[in-house]
Symmetry: C2
Subunit: 241 residues, 2 copies
Amino acid sequence: MLITSLDNQKIKKYLKLKIKKFRDEEKLFLIEGEHLVEEALKSDLLVDLLVLDGNIKDYHFPITYVGSKVMKKLSNMDSVPSVIGVCKFLEEKEITGNRVLLLDDIQDPGNLGTIIRSSLAFSVFDIILNLNSVDLYNDKVIRSSQGMIFQMNILRRDLGKVITDLKKKDYVILGTDVFKGIDVKDISPEKFALIMGNEGSGVKAELKKMCDKNLYIKMNSKVESLNVGVATSILLYELNR
Amino acid sequence: MLITSLDNQKIKKYLKLKIKKFRDEEKLFLIEGEHLVEEALKSDLLVDLLVLDGNIKDYHFPITYVGSKVMKKLSNMDSVPSVIGVCKFLEEKEITGNRVLLLDDIQDPGNLGTIIRSSLAFSVFDIILNLNSVDLYNDKVIRSSQGMIFQMNILRRDLGKVITDLKKKDYVILGTDVFKGIDVKDISPEKFALIMGNEGSGVKAELKKMCDKNLYIKMNSKVESLNVGVATSILLYELNR
């Protein structure tokens, strides 16, 4: 089948997925390009695959061909992608791992995507976003995660309740403190939840109070802080050694 | 003095600085907001300071007041900043440090800014961009550097020539190799130049060949690579220990 009209019912439904409100209603989101589609194919979340007319790559998945006008309209990029996937929202699973990452009000989609990619790299498979964090299904988040979201368990919860619950299960709650922290190199808890905060204002005071230990990354005193994606990555890197 | 007209000669000149071509001609660039201006004030690169009419903060620097229409037009942000600084391009100094960072075709301004911030944090003060890298004076670069550019020596050069020159001066040229590299934890050269490459394609082959040693960051095999800002930061963090 080849769809070339923007008035096609299916295309009209998919176009709405560019807006968060409709994604949340349908529990569906779009991904662009071969790399992300290949990552999605490793999960069972892909529900439809739109391929640019004339493209002959075999995805081993049922395909709908679309014209370049349709593809361009569905895309968030400047160049027309060869493929767009429609995916179901991630299934929210129970936390089973010994290492958890909590994110309090991360607002930049690039930062969230980068953090997801680094988390998987350093073997943290459970991430909990607070209710006010940037939308996980924002196209920039997915793009900068390089499709690693499909291998993660990512929940959205009230972090105060989550921390209370994790404490009961013997997770050490780790915060950060540039002035009075422990060098992350000198600690290696077996079971931990690391909490990282907003780009400008950091972790909220009421959550900071719940931390059992605070870490810091040794650095030149000329610099006040690192980018939150970088800081999270270095901490998880060290905690993984 | 208060300028409220967009036809003012000075404002017309400054508005052009939003475009790379004119920045390069004038060797001037704009910075926005109190934090960046305070960082610029620590250097001697600030040449003019435009403050929003009604703002009473004392910068200990000669001020030109401007109306909100002018400020909005000069700004790249959604909200009108309270202050905009006009700065001279960084002075290009000779490389004197024992640690140098070479960047080959970094294209994302956020990545370059983040790398500059991390470099200073891990005591690398000399960065050399290849001729094709993203513009250093792009507003997103400066913003994500958090103004740390003012404390750095950043050159733009042909990297092949730079590497040849650094080799003569006994710098160990460090590249990266996910498959055959040395764990960065196991190496601590006193005098090195680390080369990092483009977000998609990495370091160009002809430069890769010039590397004396290749490093890798230990990570989960589910992930092919890290964001280049994160990878650079972790490598410099380890090489600084």
